[in-house]
Amino acid sequence: MMESPRVVADGRVDRWEYVALACLVVWPFLASHYASGLVSETFIFAIVVMSLDLLMGYSGLVSFGHAAFFGLGAYATVLLGVKFGLSPWIGALAGIALSAVASGLIGYFCVRMSGVAFFMLTLAFSQLLYSGAIKWRWLTAGSDGIGGMQRPDVLGVSLAHPVVMYFFALTSMVVCLYLLRRIIASQFGHALVGLRENETRMRSMGYRTLLLKLVAFVIAGTFAGVSGALYAIYTGFVSPDALSWGMSGMFLLMVVLGGAGSFLGPAIGAAVFLLMKHFVSSQTDHWLLIVGVIFVACVMFFRGGIYGLIDRIGGRRATP
């Protein structure tokens, strides 16, 4: 299902991507605050979805529990901010650290499995966290969620202003994309891809495949934590939804929709999904049907997702 990943060998950026970036920079000055807010949300989700791509597209590990780390990042940020009055930045750092540690712990157990077993185990772990979030009202206020966190300032400017938030989210996404690309372009990244292609061969060549997988899992989990913390800062609210398997499923959906193994593909998948949800849902109730059909089509025919499709239209071969 996953196409051979579009590994950009030396981390170089395509010319068109600069053009796209320029458009995104200009956008908030043309669009309404509401629209900018929605696109900001897209950037934030793009980060977690790209991190899942590291697992799915590049390492061949399909996780159904990625929301665990997203949710941990979000919860830590809001809890520390609302219950202890700490700055959201401290909360975010704590959240990211928490996701890193959690992904290490959970990953330790999960990477020993593969395929369906891995899938189920990741689901079980995230459901474990979810059940805690729902039931331990003394900590998390259960399904009510916790809110009321104000957006902090960054470099002296308040993130409460939609345009400021937009640029902050955009910058975060670009930075994460850059980091992820560098990781994949490194020796470690190449080993990961090799592992995806043929794990047995890699092992016989002396690679410590379990360790490789674990590191990938932790990196992905950490970025997911970053995304969760940003989401908490953006909405000022967190609920068990952020840890749910529905959320994990949504991430999966976005990766497949956009095209695994390309980082940008899933980011586009996130954009398409979220914008469809907001845009289409005001015209018709059936946006989920449309998304479902596109998704099924992607699984069956367009294994490169939307990104792969565009690639083909653009004249570039899908397989390098």
């Binding site: 395509d14 009202r137 259960g142 009510d144 000022g236 565009i310 004249g315």
Partner: protein, 404 residues
């Protein structure tokens, strides 16, 4: 050299992104819609739950709103009205997104709703900073009115308002030992606490506090538990079809007749009777409204409602109806200039009407509706299951702690 898209920097991808974005922006702003809609209309955002178990109550609220508007020719204070309905799915995260759309994209003049107390709580920060007039039509979280939000008025109950009189009344008229069963979200805890406060103050004992996960449809395990405790009474708070199932299963598992069923207003209401049938008969509840109130205002309301919907209205239909009336009256008093939020707000605060539920006015400090609380019993009357008022507690206000 042939012109290759690659050389052009693969414009397709970014073109697609850009176009989608631009189209999206216009749509988000409702640009197209705005062009055709009358800029003269008053836009009311109806923010409620229209899916799953609680949809029952959301739709009822909406019916009440529509009924009122039908009576005014869909006009408020001489201006046309545009109603924009958004579903929060009983989920605060989803709700916040839809709320943003209502306020920032649809630019509504007022938000009516929500139903869930936890949703209302999640809205506080946002509504405070946006300043949009907010008429609460269902959510009863007691501490909501402790927040000082100038443009917010709660035209419905506070959980404390309705639950605490039952605590006192139950001790002297029902039982001295009770098991509370509540839906496990903010309102459930709020209501259980309010009941417990007054019940135990009189000397009553709460044997156990059961909290059922939101969305529970099979209460068998909990009912078996209650029966094993030989509790003389149960005080139940459920919403929507949950309430329907709970009372029905209450009878199926043999608790009816042995255990007194006491409820919050939403547990035993006109809208839940179709699901409950005569398993509800004998149930007692406290409420701010009763469909069989014999007052001119209520009789008129019930007549119009029954003619349109062929059944009796419940608390939520009345809630939507009266909320619109309050909004309308206030708008009329300022010549329809609802864009002047401060004036409109002040006008709403001066409300003093006889609604179908009885007299309604607002607490000047907390903006909570002051109204009657009725003790009701479910009876079978002329082949119909209805609530009947057996006691009235007049002019119940907000929790004293909120005025501080």
């Amino acid at each position: 050299m042939t012109i290759n898209l690659q050389n052009l920097g693969l414009t397709r991808r970014r073109f697609l992104r850009g176009t989608a974005g631009a189209a999206g922006a216009l749509a988000f702003d409702g640009g197209f819609a705005r062009v055709f809609a009358q800029s003269d209309s008053i836009r009311i955002g109806v923010f409620n739950t229209f899916t799953k178990a609680v949809a029952l109550f959301g739709e009822a609220t909406f019916r009440g709103i529509e009924l009122y508007l039908a009576g005014t020719g869909r006009r408020l204070a001489g201006r046309n009205v545009e109603v924009i309905k958004e579903d929060d799915e009983f989920n605060p995260q989803v709700g916040l997104q839809k709320l943003r759309k209502l306020v920032e994209s649809d630019k509504v003049h007022a938000v009516l709703g929500p139903l869930g107390s936890h949703i209302a709580t999640a809205m506080i920060g946002y509504m405070k900073s946006s300043g949009t007039p907010w008429i609460v039509t269902g959510a009863g979280s007691t501490v909501l009115t402790k927040e000082r939000i100038p443009a917010m008025y709660r035209a419905s109950l506070t959980n404390w308002q309705v639950a605490h009189p039952m605590g006192t009344w139950a001790y002297y008229n029902a039982a001295t030992e009770v098991v509370t069963v509540s839906s496990d979200f903010l309102a459930g805890h709020d209501i259980a606490d309010s009941f417990k406060e007054t019940f135990t103050k009189e000397g009553g004992k709460v044997l156990k506090e059961i909290f059922t996960p939101v969305g529970t449809n099979d209460f068998s395990a909990y009912l078996a538990d209650i029966r094993s405790m030989n509790a003389p009474a149960v005080y139940g708070f459920m919403v929507g079809s949950e309430a329907g199932r709970f009372v029905r299963q209450f009878q199926q598992f043999g608790l009816k007749g042995r255990v007194k069923l006491l409820g919050f207003q939403s547990t035993l209401d006109s809208d839940t009777f179709p699901l409950q049938g005569n398993s509800a008969v004998g149930g007692l509840s406290t409420s701010i409204y009763c469909e069989t109130l014999d007052t001119p205002e209520n009789n008129a309301f019930v007549e119009v409602y029954e003619k349109k919907h062929k059944e009796l209205p419940g608390i939520f239909s009345e809630s939507g109806y009266t909320a619109m009336r309050i909004v309308d009256d206030a708008a009329k008093s300022i010549d329809g200039k609802v864009e002047d939020i401060a004036a409109w707000s002040a006008a709403i605060g001066k409300t003093n009407i006889k609604a179908p539920r009885g007299p309604v006015s607002f607490d000047p400090v907390t903006h909570q509706a002051i109204q009657n609380v009725y003790v009701r019993e479910v009876i079978e009357h002329k082949g119909r299951i209805v609530n009947k008022v057996i006691a009235t507690i007049p002019n119940v206000g907000d929790h004293p702690g909120n005025k501080a």
